[in-house]
Amino acid sequence: MKLTSLLNTRIVILDGATGTELQKSGMPQGVAPEKWVLENPRILTRVACDYRDAGSDIVYTCTFGANRYKLAQYKISDVQKINTRIARITRRALGKNTLIAGDIGPTGKFIEPFGPVPFDEAVAAFKEQIKGLVAGGVDLLVIETMMDIQEARAALIAAREVTNMFTMVTMTYERDGRTLNGTDPVTALVTLQSLGAHAVGCNCSTGPGDMVRFIAQMKPYARVPLLAKPNAGMPRLQKGKTVFDMSPKEFSGYAGEFAKAGINLMGGCCGTSPEYIRELKKQLRNKKPQTPRRFFLSALSSSRTHVIIEKDSPLIIIGECINPTGKKSLQKELREKKTALLRQLASEQVRHGADMLDVNVGASGVDEAEMLKEAIKVLAVNTTVPLVIDSSDIRAIADALKLYPGRALVNSISGEKAKLKKMLPLIKKYGAMAIVLPLTDKGVPHTCLKRKKAVNEIYRKVKRAGLAKEDIVVDALALTVSSDRQAPGETLNTIRWCHDEFDAATVVGLSNISFGLPRRSQLNSAFLAMASSCGLTMAIANPLSEGLMHMRHSSDVLTGKDDKAVRFIRYVQEESGGTSSKSAALPASPQERVYTAILEGNRQEIEQYIGEALKGGIDAEKIMQEGMVTAINTVGELFDKKEYFLPQLIASAETMKQGFEFLKPHLKNTQGHREKRNVIMLATVKGDIHDIGKNIVALMLENHGFHVIDLGKDVSVEKIINEIKKHKSPLIGLSALMTTTMVNMQDVVDAVRKESLDCRFIVGGAVITKSFAHSLGAEYAADGVAAVRVAKSLSARKTE
């Protein structure tokens, strides 16, 4: 019976663990199982037959590690031949009534962008194994125990390049439902089924109790059958041997739950044996399979998350900022092949609520294909959300799609015949989705009517390429209102037509609408709300625009896309501070504004507020003492009570410093004040290169009127002694981060005593304790605020 027919009639039974069965039959530790079974074909035959006799409809070949990387560890190079021979022995053993799955396991290597193995090399390695399995007569392929979605992609692409054979892919998830690189079951499903997997699922790592959850999570989005091969519970050591804590009966007791969750194929992994499969078969005998619930699925994925695109679901925002047009700094960075700004733009947009990121690196002087590949590599690792590959360069798109470890959205395809002919097979091969621009070879259609015609024409070709309406997003073409006042109306009509009649998702490049006009953000936000009410699915927009994001969430509530306003309420709560933030009330007087600016660490406006206070006739000395000094003391108190944490303390100190520099020319006795300042010398001791703590202390002390002589880090005893003599500094602050370098503080103290220099020590640093400080005869300061307190106290004593 064909597998596809079997899947319609019942839940298909897979086999159980192979390795442990081979070990029971005498396979020693440390050998290559594939080599060992070829030397012991009778055992291989018996294990396969045991599973068949226990009720397995499909038995996996013993080729889990038969790839070039794993076999090389045993100095075996004839990969294809080994796979063929094992598949043939298995075929001979099982005859024609049991299906044989050619088993493909992980290579143990990370594939780019997550590791050093080039993607093409990984595909070639898997093809080598698959060709061997196919030549050996397997009925189907199974790519299993994958913990890296990119490796699963490479294996699946290899399978598709070799054969159209039914191919199953299973990932292995930890109990938290994620792989090592953070892929969850639904995300993997979105990626793998769009790439052509015929069945998707999970195996190993967890027992049936956890795995049934993963199946239930996937089922609503599955276009393909789902499979599971759980372990027999969790392993434990018993009389020196590893045993799994579930009996065959307990294991198969989960069969009902799996059937309810929508399983289509089931077997066992580590710790299971033919006995487990026999029990499982009994329990699943009368359970009806649930066929996949979807024919198509409009969804995108990264390696770590996915976005499901459904009619009337909340508006999706595609961050537009990774685009060098009009951004000189980004252009420069791309020309220099750097990616720091790219990563920063990605993090910022995601943090501000972007659901996906548009990636466009086209600029003069930039090799777009190379740079797009680099950008995709960097962003696939450094950002969580799915990417939109935005380019007009077909080679660049092809390379990016191949490398992207998820299901990407291509921006864009249009009716230009020559280009469409090349683009559609690419989109199909890599399982991507595409934005359809309703452009033809004749140019941009300005009316909704003409756009409808263009979309329909392109869609006919899309269908012919084997893609569905769910694989496209129609660009409703937002054109500039300043040059055509009818343009917004035509765009809205196109959105409405797509939503009500054509039944496809839509997108607009929002910022185009306001081009050439002032207050663009307001216009963009207003148009977003209008488009949303017409059924817009997604907008390419700037998520850093607060007004736009407010409008996005508000319009979702008002158009019924945000049921019970749950997302809106969460957005408002997060906005008002997931980390306990508060909105400061606007202070009334200029002097209060100075005080508040320091309290809040507002460096941008401190000079303006001081200027306003001076203009208002307030004496500079008064601004200094009553506004600034009071504020910085309050900051210290707040830090002591933990109401402020380190960044707030330092930001306030830096604002104070900047404010003081600005105010200094207006202070009558600045010069005298400076001369009278207490001197303190700071150094990180010899051998220690960590100086961030010392820098904070320096800043704090300066703000409290100390003249700081900072000697830097890794400072020798000799240098410290010479500088003390030179500056006659009565106070010395020493810092050390390491246990190995803190002992060098003693050398400094000893040298000072030997030279009979009159100075006092304050010590601090991560490993320094009060008792250690006292053992040196020094004072201890736990942080910058404490250092100021101690330094003031020592200076006062000195003066007395």
Partner: protein
């Protein structure tokens, strides 16, 4: 021959809560204005652009354990009671090392030099937390592998410089892990350069 597994790009998400916590944020006590929060998170985003996490890991068999000494394959000896206790149930050890790279260190210096100590402190905290997370990632990677051999990693890890496991042990760990391949060197005081680089040891024991 010790096989070292290198990880060119370790994928982890920005651990915002850990960064806040490292900087002294006390839940329920510390309060921030929207502006302060935005400034801090902008710094975190910027810093993340300069961090490239790389790592290395390798397994070594334990040949002998005494009260104050552990002998590993390759004639590596650790004279430490703390390590001996830590590896009490282990048959093998995992050496691991990770770095956040030199770019972030240069950026921290640059920020501090330009009177932007706030940014420097946030950058510093992010790099520390990210590199620590990278070690956790490496442990998870090896834990997954050893579980298929019915073994598991010790829940924690140990770094040189703690208790009687002296910092000079970092030299042999650094050499064994071939940390130079990751651009990491050891200075005369056994401190890893660039600064945000770490090594650690974990035990591998039967389940």
């Amino acid at each position: 021959m010790i096989h070292v597994e290198f990880f060119d790009l370790i994928t982890i998400e920005i651990p915002y809560p850990k960064v806040y916590s490292r900087l002294g944020y006390a839940k329920g006590t510390t309060t921030l204005t929207s502006r302060q929060k935005a400034d801090i998170e902008k710094n975190i985003d910027e810093a993340s652009g300069y961090i490239t996490l790389k790592g290395a890991g390798c397994r070594l068999a334990i040949e002998r354990k005494e009260e104050h000494k552990v002998v590993l394959s390759g004639a590596i000896e650790f004279n430490s009671q703390a390590i001996s206790r830590f590896l009490h149930d282990s048959q093998e050890v995992l050496f691991m090392g990770a770095t956040a790279g030199a770019d972030i260190i240069n950026k921290i210096k640059e920020q501090a030099a330009h009177d932007n100590v706030t940014a420097a402190v946030v950058f510093d905290a992010l790099a520390s937390e990210m590199v620590d997370e990278a070690l956790s990632w490496i442990m998870e990677f090896f834990d997954y592998q050893v579980r298929r051999e019915n073994k598991q990693l010790t829940p924690g890890r140990y770094s040189a410089g703690y208790n009687d496991f002296s910092l000079d042990n970092q030299k042999i760990m650094c050499e064994t892990l071939q940390m130079s391949e990751l651009g990491v060197k050891l200075n005369d005081h056994y401190i890893l350069i660039p600064e945000k680089s770490v090594t650690a040891i974990a035990g591998i024991q039967p389940i």
